[in-house]
């Protein structure tokens, strides 16, 4: 029985390894096409001119970063509740209820705030539930922790891109490099929290790292909505320029935006996949070192 399971896993591994280069090529093609669309094919914006095209890199990077951080949050929760059956089932139910509630809200709540489509609310809800159970099914045990680390790292990379492209867009259009508006500030705090997360992972003693990091991720997840809300109050008291604006978007621009998002999602998946394999390999090597240390205490690892 065990041999068969190992054989299955070997075959699974091999097919994954073969799929990787194909996926990489597809992603490269998609990214090039998306770049072309963003720089050439997309219509030029009326007020901002060509600089507005930064939008096609800035926004997809932000959405990708948020998605990655959300996956990290899911991994953290699953790691913390995995031992306690009651907490585990509560978490399962919360994930299901959120998805159902989002779909219900999309149908029932009218009118929705401006710029928010019912379809995106429903999709977000289903994505939350879907991601929760997908992670649970395919990444369990210590792999949950590995995935948490991977998504945090890659999320920080994408978040850095957001924080660099944001001011580069703001300066020529609104004349200022930075403003403490809701979205920029929340993104900055999210970035800071996850950098501190990565530092904690690096500096903590290896046995405790997964639990401590998971707890920090929970704190971060609680903090960001509070940041958003506090800046929102601050802004109602001290109105300031809004970067990025809100409201509706030209359908041709929306198309380019979504193409770029798809391209960056694939790119993020590629990087996460590579980083994940690297992490798994690293943990195996560390285990071997540890075993060697046990078997022969005289030799140092």
């Amino acid at each position: 029985m065990k041999r068969q399971a190992e054989g299955d896993e070997c075959r699974h591994e091999n097919s994954m390894k073969r799929a990787f280069p194909i996926f990489a090529v597809l992603t490269a093609v998609l990214l090039s096409y998306a770049l072309y669309e963003a720089l050439v094919a997309a219509p030029t914006e009326q007020t901002m001119g060509n600089v507005q095209r930064i939008f096609y890199y800035h926004v997809p990077s932000a959405w990708t970063a948020f998605l990655l951080f959300f996956i990290n949050f899911v991994c953290s929760i699953q790691y913390l509740v995995r031992r306690d059956k009651v907490a585990d089932s509560i978490a399962n139910w919360v994930a299901i209820v959120l998805g159902v509630a989002a779909c219900a809200a999309a149908v029932v709540i009218r009118p929705l705030p401006s710029g928010v489509e019912p379809s995106s609310v429903a999709t977000t809800g289903l994505a939350i539930t879907g991601l929760y159970f997908l992670v649970k099914r395919y990444f369990s045990g210590s792999r949950t922790d590995a995935l948490a680390l991977v998504t945090a790292e890659v999320g920080v990379v994408f978040c850095t891109v957001v924080l660099v492209t944001g001011p580069l867009w703001a300066r020529p259009v609104w004349g200022i490099w930075w403003t403490w508006d809701v979205r920029l500030t929340s993104t900055l705090v999210l970035w800071l929290i996850y950098i501190s997360y990565l530092m904690l992972r690096r500096f903590s003693a290896s046995g405790q790292t997964p639990v401590l990091a998971a707890a920090l991720a929970i704190f971060g997840a609680l903090d960001v909505p509070l940041v958003y809300f506090s800046i929102w109050i601050f802004r109602t008291q001290h109105p300031q320029p809004v970067i990025g604006g809100g409201g509706s978007i030209d359908p041709r621009m929306l198309h380019v935006l979504l193409i770029n998002w798809l391209a960056f999602l694939c790119f993020a998946a590629l990087i996460c996949w590579s980083r994940y394999r690297l992490e798994v390999l690293q943990r195996e090597v560390e285990e071997i070192h540890a075993m060697k240390g046990l078997q022969d205490p005289r030799s140092s690892g």
């Binding site: 600089v51 890199y57 660099v164 492209t165 580069l168 867009w169 690297l278 078997q295």
Partner: protein, 45 residues
């Protein structure tokens, strides 16, 4: 316009830096694995 190119370049520079870091870590890990393989000619059991 310069800002546009700066933003796109910055994006790719950041991604490339991260990928380079990953590749280097992979190579050093590979070396470590080769060392380990060389270092245990005697079987464990």
């Amino acid at each position: 316009m310069n800002f546009l190119y700066a933003a796109y370049s910055a994006t790719w520079i950041i991604h490339i830096i991260y990928l380079v870091i990953l590749v280097r870590r992979y190579h050093s890990l590979r070396n470590e694995i080769d060392e380990l393989k060389k270092g245990k000619p005697t079987p464990g059991h």
